[in-house]
């Protein structure tokens, strides 16, 4: 068996090299296919990470009325201090809110300079304990409604919900396009192998005449297909990795960007292995398909 595998592998490698220009076609196709699949998986994974990270610690703002009394503010502060679910909170006065805006959005500094009144409300920034459920937040929100001087309790749950959905959608789209491009890869590999076969037709005839068994004739073709798929998938994963490095560099160099704090995560090793296996499997299907549909009559002894 080992001998057979060695034979098939060495013949397949020789053939791949001999018809390398032709093979670039199928390698390129499967590389593109796996790059598409890998990219969607990468983007989906990181968006989901982002959504999860944001959702892990619920943060909300309690915006206060401008005319809130000192006592009312102290009551709210006391309530937050006593609450079991509140991890930490900070008070942001109207001036501090304006200063923060000026700092974050320096380009709009002139807009705030021209304002006579400070439109930014004072607020509490509240962080709940990690793992606190959204239901708990809703209860807290309801309780806070009974306090005087509160303008609004704001938690952008819709954004997070949509982000999570979008991440899921991206991953689904990845699988969808992935399946389409994998089918196109199978088709390409199958056709390239047919062309390869024509360049080796005489060789196959001679192999039959000197008594090479059917397995020894088929083996190299199958291994060649698998290698094409494997190498193409490897090149696709490499492209995704290059993209990952570039995105990482872009994000660390642009801290003002909304996702500036995000450290992108590359595909987990299991996913990389899965992509490589998908490539190899596409190659296997492509070669079996071409052997079954087209080459069988040439390869078989009859």
């Amino acid at each position: 068996m080992l001998q057979f595998l060695y034979f098939s592998l060495s013949e397949a490698v020789t053939s791949l090299w001999r018809t390398r220009i032709l093979n670039l076609l199928s390698l390129g196709t499967i590389m593109f296919a796996m790059f598409i699949l890998g990219s969607f998986m990468f983007v989906g994974l990181n968006l989901q990470n982002l959504a999860l990270d944001w959702q892990k610690q619920i943060q909300f703002n309690i915006f206060l009325n401008d005319d809130i009394s000192e006592e009312a503010r102290a009551e709210i502060q006391a309530y937050l201090g006593k609450s079991f679910f509140v991890d930490s909170f900070t008070f942001l006065s109207k001036d501090q809110a304006r200063a923060r805006f000026d700092e974050k959005f320096a380009a709009y500094e002139k807009v705030t300079e021209n304002l006579e009144d400070n439109p930014f409300p004072a607020s509490f920034e509240v962080f709940l304990l990690r793992g606190t459920k959204q239901q708990t937040y809703t209860t807290l929100k309801d309780e806070l409604k009974s306090f005087a001087g509160i303008e609004e309790v704001y938690y952008d749950e819709e954004v997070f919900r949509r982000l999570g959905m979008f991440a899921g959608f991206i991953q689904m789209a990845g699988w969808f396009f992935g399946v389409i491009v994998i089918f196109s890869s199978i088709f390409t590999i199958s056709n390239v192998l047919k062309l390869t076969f024509f360049t080796r037709r005489e060789e196959v005839d001679i192999m039959k005449l000197v008594g090479a068994s059917r397995a020894y004739i088929r083996g190299p073709f199958i291994v060649e297909g698998v290698l094409q798929g494997f190498l193409g998938a490897g090149a696709g994963v490499f492209l995704v990795y290059s993209g990952y490095l570039m995105v990482g560099r872009f994000l660390t160099g642009n801290t003002s960007f909304i996702l500036g704090n995000l450290e992108p995560e590359f595909l987990p090793m299991q996913w990389v292995v899965l992509i490589l296996l998908a490539g190899g499997f596409s190659g296997l299907l492509g070669s079996l398909f071409s052997l079954h549909q087209f080459l069988e009559e040439h390869i078989s002894y009859h």
Partner: protein
């Protein structure tokens, strides 16, 4: 070793390439198969290695009925027979060494042993210095000798040769025939298709002669009488 029983072969209706051929070749014999071009020599050899199936009749090779042999057993049959094809049938993309040892490789014989056997047979045919050449870098005569080396590398029980000296000068042709005799003395049955009358007369072996697809003459017993 080989038995033909009333074998017929045709490619078109009522046009026979071989017609009612019957003969027996015993193990260890050296036979010339002769006749003019188109007499059916190559067809007869193709039937022995089951490259073709006869329209009628039975063919026994080494105890196996090749007319009805299962397809799965054809490779094994062919590996037990060494064949020197008229057009050499060398794989152009493989070197002399790779061509000669191809069958050994499919049999799982390790590289060291393949090298040893290739060296021996290539030395026999005088090409031990051209192991890394490709067929197209060799002359016609050299390619023919590579084909001979490939045919004998696996110590076949039966050696078939279709015009094996057609592209060789008389000296080299004599060398090849001497090599065939040497292989024959080791017990291999040798069947050589040729129309080289001088060589046939010189070697004084059994001759089966075909004319227009019919067995014209079999000198089998006559040669044995002369030799005895």
């Amino acid at each position: 070793m080989i038995r033909f029983y009333h074998v017929y072969q045709s490619y078109q209706k009522d046009v026979f390439a071989l017609s009612d051929i019957s003969f027996t070749i015993n193990p260890g014999e050296f036979i010339f198969l002769t006749g003019p071009s188109g007499a059916g020599k190559t067809t007869l050899l193709k039937l022995i290695i089951r490259e073709e199936v006869p329209k009628k009749g039975q063919i026994l090779v080494n105890g196996q009925n090749v007319s009805s042999i299962p397809v799965s057993k054809i490779p094994r049959l062919r590996r037990s027979i060494g064949v020197v094809f008229q057009d050499f049938k060398l794989i152009r993309s493989k070197t002399v060494f790779e061509n000669v040892t191809f069958v050994l490789k499919t049999l799982g014989i390790d590289l060291k042993e393949r090298r040893r056997r290739a060296h021996n047979v290539l030395k026999m045919v005088g090409l031990q210095h051209k192991t890394h050449f490709y067929p197209l870098e060799l002359s016609g005569g050299e390619q023919q000798r590579v084909a001979v080396a490939r045919a004998i590398v696996n110590d076949p029980v039966l050696l078939l040769a279709d015009e094996p000296t057609g592209n060789l000068d008389p000296d080299r042709a004599a060398d090849i025939m001497a090599l065939f005799e040497k292989i024959n003395r080791k017990g291999t049955t040798v069947l050589v298709a040729t129309h080289d009358r001088d060589m046939i007369q010189r070697m004084r072996k059994r001759v089966i002669s075909l004319t227009a697809g019919r067995l014209d003459h079999d000198s089998g017993s006559q040669v044995q009488v002369e030799e005895s």
